[in-house]
Subunit: 361 residues, 2 copies
DNA sequence: GTTCCGGGGGAAACCGGTTACTGAGGTGTT
DNA sequence: AACACCTCAGTAACCGGTTTCCCCCGGAAC
């Protein structure tokens, strides 16, 4: 018994098995399944019968190689566990399947090496596009290497999309869909400053991380626009996790830093910081004001509800795939490298109080 | 100029392009890249040179069809946005890539139709396994249909894995990796009862949802074990979102339900409920005690920190892929349908207080 | 100087599909 | 009755790889 088994439904059957069972050629089976080519009614039913009997499904890889496959799209993120990443991932996935694409996903845990490797895999998969979600370390080598894979992808007719990550060097064949990271931070910090605060503790991320950098820039710019020089002592590095916020806050309290407000780089960080503040017996916003960034769903369930910056993360993800796919369609003329910048807005809740100064300082 | 361009790096080149450029046959290129077959040093360098010049990467689909591809594994979840789903997804993804598999992902937003369609797509992709993550509506038709796709997958040498979802009818060729949903709820509820509470409001999920059912069973069983008959009025349906918790809690308060503690079906629901309680001026746990389920990272940042049930979600995801893949390996002998049940434990924080009754009730 | 051996590489078959080309058979027109 | 035309199905080439089979050629052994 060869592997060309004609058993009823048992095992992976090929189009030839179906053809044999229906007493026709493989081409005919393909045509019946494919749709448009004229096939007589009796043949069609015989073929469909065989297909059903064998529970046949055409091999998608073979179809793909023949040029009629479901297109695929790869996307990479740091860690699906982060709420804002999850939101973007959701947007990407929803829009991709809406447009009939499959999603290959990979998380890197911040490992640039791994990211590059995955992109290479996507190139091998002939993915229609690769979407890089979330910030990254921004070293010159990194930009150069990412630029190179962007070139490789472009040469293969694919496309690299940066989603929520700043552009590479100009000229790199990438599409960029990001939000106004710095502007959001600026507006948020301005809000805190407008309530009278002057010593605002900034709980940041990794110094080389682009998202952290953008938010810190906004923090600094808002200060300077008000004519207050931010104290460098008040800027703490960390990462974007809840635990980092908790630890940083505790340490700040222990070493006796002086501040009346805290601006956390993310809502997660803010959540950890809030817990540390509570544990220290400090009231928010009575004693200390606190703001976050991202407006994750949970932000409003913290106590007090967290004032933060809303970022249209899911929309960002959707736009990333739409951009990638549209680019692929109209490639011909002079497909300029798109760069979309979505707006953010601060959502004021209950976590920042007005600071009444005894005198006009 | 035909499409067989031999340009330097520009565009998708085939193995034949590389062969032509290196002045060898396609077979030789394949052998150089493949590894083991003896190839002379000079030929090897010539081929590698051509590969580099053309920036050639073998088409993964073609390799797959020839039987030497990177295996793929599909996984389906309700909504990546839910923290516990995200945790499982992370586990699945990490373990899959650790074992050298690619991940095709799809979220269904609870649409069973869509779930079935995706599984069919995975069958066409010849996925090594398909992992269904999270609960589902448990109707007889659903079990029957899922059983059928499980059969189809099994016939194709693939495998369906249910992760965090109860088994199908016995005999269905599926692997199950779940946690003790009911047991966790039982322990949690027992804890609340042990602090003196007798009227515990249960904020549940959709009645047909298996996860919701399991937790409710635990709630009921704990009551009965204590000899207290739970008041049906205290069981509210909803879904597993924060908003649902908020709304249900408000409504419960408005209609004047009497209770001294709240057991939310998930931490998300608990978070919404907590905010509603705060807004109503009720202290937790002073006036009302509150517990959740899932132990999502945020649970400890609520105020008060939430007592809840810890579920090893990430481990669950990892185990799901390991189970699936091991099954595929040892298929021969008498690959019994595995069923793993992971334990949970309640983590006591600050959200439930002791109820002092005026007299022994 | 033959024969034998084995290393290295090419031709061709194969994986599982699609599709351009070809041709058989039936119908309609003059 | 002859011819054109249309419908439908089969043959074969192709997609981009891998692998089997076979041959050629150089060196060692006799």
């Amino acid at each position: 018994m060869t592997r060309k088994s004609a058993d009823g439904g048992g095992g992976r059957s090929t189009i030839r098995d179906v053809a044999a069972r229906a007493g026709v050629s493989a081409a005919t089976v393909s045509r019946v399944l494919g749709g448009v080519y004229p096939v007589s009614a009796t043949t069609r039913t015989r073929v469909l019968r065989a297909v059903r009997d064998l529970d046949y499904v055409a091999d998608a890889r073979a179809k793909a190689i023949a040029g009629v496959g479901t297109p695929t799209l790869g996307f990479v993120l740091d860690d699906i566990t982060g709420p804002s990443f999850a939101l973007m991932a959701h947007g990407v996935e929803r829009e991709a399947t809406r447009l009939g694409h499959l999603c290959l996903v990979c998380s890197t845990d911040g490992d640039a090496e791994h990211e590059l490797a995955f992109i290479e895999t996507m190139r091998a998969q002939r993915a229609a596009a690769v979407i890089l979600v979330g910030g990254s370390a921004d070293t010159p080598e990194y930009r150069a290497r990412t630029g190179r894979v962007a070139d490789a992808l472009a040469a293969a007719g694919s496309r690299l999309v940066l989603c929520g990550r700043p552009p590479l060097d100009p000229g790199a064949p990438v599409s960029v869909v990001e939000y106004d990271n710095e502007g959001g931070a600026y507006a948020l910090c301005a809000h805190v400053l407008s309530r009278g605060h002057r010593r605002i503790l900034y709980l940041g991320g990794k110094p080389e991380h682009t998202t952290a950098q953008g938010r810190e820039r906004g923090y600094l710019a808002a200060h300077r626009a008000r004519g207050v020089e931010p104290d460098p002592v008040l800027r703490l590095a960390g990462d974007f996790t809840r635990d980092s916020g908790y630890r940083s806050m505790r340490r700040a309290l222990e070493v006796g830093l002086e501040f009346t407000a805290v601006m956390a780089a993310t809502d997660m960080v803010a959540a950890g910081a809030l817990t540390a503040l509570h544990e220290a017996g400090l009231a928010v916003p009575g004693d200390i004001s606190l703001v976050g960034y991202d407006d994750i769903p949970f932000a409003r369930d913290l106590h007090p509800a967290l004032t933060t910056v809303h970022v249209p993360y899911e929309e960002l993800g959707r736009l990333a795939v739409r951009t990638a796919l549209e680019w692929g369609r109209k490639r011909g003329p002079e497909a300029s490298d798109e760069h979309l910048l979505l707006g953010t807005h601060v959502v004021v809740r209950d976590s920042v109080g007005a600071l009444v100064t005894s005198s006009a300082g």
